[in-house]
């Protein structure tokens, strides 16, 4: 790249938001507008090396892009036939008038008008529009407003370029198809749409901020990108306290970046950070943003970003960790928990209350969370609980909680830290046989049949996570087992409950601790013979045409067109598909049959390429997120997408989605005749 090219590249990044926004106003389609902006860039790449860089390169590019937009509109209008309405013509004319004619000299400096800044804001609202899935909003915003390439975005999100490129292309198509207007929302809609923009900006920030690895320097770049976007947004909507609140929050969090990692790259917790390394400039900018938020007024209650920023301000104001105003922070977290009752917020509130009102008060709040089955694998929970227990002088329990936390975390640096904390607490009776040792001995050797060992292993693995491994077996009570049992399997079917129960009984018998299962009575399965499904009455509409995500629609259509089993369809891998022949080799258990092919027809064939989205390996149907520790233990290497890390869609989940959307079980979809499904 020559110097001129590097300069052009830098100018493009600085100007791309305005450069895309201006033609978007004229052609009303961000996809087309981005192409026009790219045309202008190409023109610059052709002309500037010869003619030199113009005095006002941004205005030069904008004017060229607008000219191209005029050409685009003219062409569009020629294509539109005479039958078009007068209103359309008038609107076009007005758009042409906006530009001031194509004979304008591109070199002449144009003052930046109010409307240009508004156009950038409009563009922000469009690229964060709720019709797009969140990840598409993030990618499109970085592309259009940050001027990042698909390759750079892919690198920042640790994924591959084609995936991001496709995500951006799909997002642009969706915006065009949904006819999302290029306008500023107002009234009630503004609050909702602004929340979406703020969310996207903060997501970008956190993606950069939570990456502590630092191997790839573009990730700190994401924080910077988010800060820029946030500052730009706050400047564009100066009357919105939440926008200033988000900026304050990001500035103050970013101020801690230099202190957040130790010399070996290990994370340093807030209370142990060297506050002298916090960036005072960013802290002051954060405070200034808070003042602007206050000046903008708080209509009603402060929103979540303002509250989080206020908490960040409390930390930033404390010169030492001991000086932290925990009473105020606890109050702010209580208000925040009312707005955002997420596990993280509730746990942080417990920490703050534990600091403000003493460890007993904090522990009471943490124990509320312990009873929540959704948080059973949340490693921060036992970590915080251990901390509070330790401060209460309950060392034995604290040690067990740290051991549990170390078992649950997936971050090795954190694991080392937690294990070290656990080992720092002296054991009461080192000779006692612990629960963990008993489990290991119980499952060891070939005394149990492999299938039994696997089944018992699942049960005991879950109980280890719930109860920890360090407690002496002799001190384990039936109540503790019953509590952990209910949190883990309270809502499961009777047969599953009984299977886990028999594992506990076998363990109790083998370890000579009778009565451990006293709190978990056997359950009677409610077995009712399933009635034979009634035939579908003729003329019943195919239920798969409801509005559902692409994955579900593809699954249902494939199931229906292939007439094969649900298990066979879910077991499909991308590499087994033969798209041109519309068939796939069966990979499920019955693949040794002679007709080992699954075949489909046109509608599935139309849906599959979009679902695969460039993937070449891994399961065809993926779960919504990466597998948690429980599922990761069950999945084999073939069950995980090498690109996204997401696991294979489970039968249970697929069945649930089908039932809740169409009202029918998956199997039932095969019973529709071809005619009805086509209607």
């Amino acid at each position: 790249m020559t110097d001129v090219h590097r300069t052009i590249d830098a100018i493009w990044r600085m100007e791309s938001a305005r450069l895309v926004a201006a033609p978007t106003r004229m052609v009303r389609d961000v996809g087309a507008a981005e192409e026009l902006a790219q045309d202008a860039l190409v023109a610059a790449l052709e002309q500037w090396p010869e003619s030199g860089i113009p005095d006002n390169p941004g205005a030069w590019l904008t004017t060229v892009a607008k000219r191209r937009a005029v050409d685009h509109i003219r062409r569009e209008r020629r294509l539109a036939e005479h039958g078009e309405t007068l209103a359309y013509e008038l609107a076009e004319q007005r758009r042409l008038d906006d530009v001031g004619g194509p004979e304008h000299d591109p070199g002449a400096a144009e003052p930046q008008s109010e409307s240009e800044q508004d156009d950038v804001l409009r563009l922000m609202f469009v690229s964060c529009h709720p019709v797009l899935p969140t990840e598409a909003r993030v990618a499109l915003t970085l592309r259009l407003l940050g001027g990042l390439t698909a390759a750079e975005i892919a690198r920042a999100f640790l994924t591959v370029e084609p995936l991001i490129a496709r995500r951006i292309a799909t997002a642009k198509r969706t915006l065009a198809e949904e006819r999302v207007p290029f306008e500023l929302p107002d009234g009630a809609e503004l609050a909702e749409r602004l929340a979406s923009v703020l969310e996207v900006v903060y997501l970008i920030f956190n993606e950069g901020y939570s990456a502590t690895s630092g191997e790839d320097l573009i990730r700190p770049g994401l924080c910077l990108e988010a800060l820029r976007l946030g500052r730009l947004l706050a400047e564009s909507v100066p009357d919105e306290p939440e926008a200033h609140g988000l900026v304050a929050l990001m500035e103050i969090q970013a101020s801690r970046t230099p202190a957040r990692t130790g010399p070996a790259g290990e994370p340093v917790p807030l209370h142990a950070q060297n506050r002298g390394r916090w960036d005072g400039l960013l802290i002051r900018r954060g405070f200034a943003a808070m003042l602007r938020a206050r000046a903008a007024g708080t209509p009603g209650r402060p929103g979540p970003y303002l509250l989080q920023a206020a908490i960040a301000v409390c930390h930033a104001q404390a010169r030492t960790a001991e000086e932290t105003d925990w009473v105020r922070i606890a109050g702010l977290y209580t208000a925040l928990a009312g707005l955002l009752p997420t596990a993280v917020v509730r746990l942080n509130r417990a920490v703050a209350v534990g600091m403000a009102d003493g460890p007993a008060a904090g522990l009471a709040l943490v124990d509320e969370l312990v009873a929540d089955p959704a948080l059973r694998d949340y490693h921060l929970l036992p970590g915080v609980r251990g901390d509070l227990l330790l401060r209460l002088g309950r060392g034995e329990e604290a040690r067990r909680e740290f051991e549990r936390a170390a078992l649950l975390t997936r971050n090795s640096a954190e694991q080392t830290y937690l294990t070290r904390r656990a080992e720092a607490i002296p054991l009461g009776d080192a000779s006692a046989w612990t629960f963990g040792e008993a489990i290991d001995a119980f499952l060891a050797g070939d005394r149990l049949a492999p299938a039994t060992a696997r089944s018992y292993g699942q049960t005991m693995w879950r109980l280890r996570l719930s109860l920890g491994v360090g407690m002496p077996l002799a001190s384990l009570t039936a109540d503790q087992i019953a509590g952990a049992f209910r949190v883990s399997w309270g809502g499961v079917a009777a047969a599953t409950w009984n299977r886990h129960r028999s594992a506990v009984r076998a363990f109790a018998a083998w370890t000579h601790t009778p009565g451990l299962d006293a709190g978990i009575p056997q359950r009677t399965p409610q077995r009712r013979p399933a009635p034979a499904p009634a035939p579908i009455p003729p003329g019943t509409a195919w239920p798969g045409d409801v509005e559902a995500p692409l994955r579900e629609r593809t699954l249902w259509t494939l199931l229906h067109e292939s007439g094969t089993t649900v298990a066979a369809v879910l077991a499909l891998n991308v590499q087994d598909l033969d798209l041109p022949e519309r068939r796939a080799r069966r990979t499920d258990r019955r693949s040794d049959r002679r007709d080992a092919w699954i075949t489909w027809r046109s509608r599935t064939a139309a849906l599959l390429p979009e679902l695969l989205d460039g993937r070449t390996r891994g399961p065809v149907f993926l779960a919504d997120r990466r597998p948690g520790p429980t599922r990761a233990g069950i999945l084999g290497p073939e069950d995980v997408c090498p690109l996204t890390g997401r696991g294979r869609l489970s039968y249970e989940r697929a069945e649930f989605l089908c039932k809740s959307t169409t009202g029918h079980p998956l199997r039932r979809l095969r019973d529709w005749s071809e005619e009805e499904s086509r209607s």
Binding site: A10, M14, Q112, R231, L232, L281
Partner: protein
């Protein structure tokens, strides 16, 4: 990355007029809005000089003879690349007219 842009005093600089102030104001406002400008300010041209030698610190009040070398204004900007910093400085020079600026990357904080 952060860059410090410093502008030096110049003998044949244009005398600041209404237009220059307006253009500078707009430029600073735009950079702040874009989240690029972190801090900026003008500097007293004379200043105080401190020299330490052999454990002795000598303090001398300005102005000094080589005053055209003195930095009279600074801007701390946060940009994505070296080229972006140069481009910003270029735009600044266009507004203020003849003279000299120096930009240096800031390491730390």
């Amino acid at each position: 990355m952060r860059y410090l842009m410093m502008s030096k005093a110049s003998e044949n600089a244009k005398t600041p007029d209404e237009r220059l102030f307006a253009e500078m104001g707009a430029f600073i406002e735009e950079l702040s809005a874009a989240g690029v400008l972190l801090a900026s300010g003008g500097l007293e041209p004379s200043g105080v000089r401190l020299v330490s030698e052999g454990g002795e610190v000598t303090v001398t009040d300005g102005p000094f003879a080589e005053s055209k070398e003195a930095v009279v204004g600074f801007a701390l900007v946060e940009v994505r690349s070296h080229e972006e910093a140069i481009e910003l400085a270029r735009r600044f020079r266009r507004i203020v007219g003849d003279g000299e600026s120096v930009i240096q990357q800031v390491f730390g904080p």
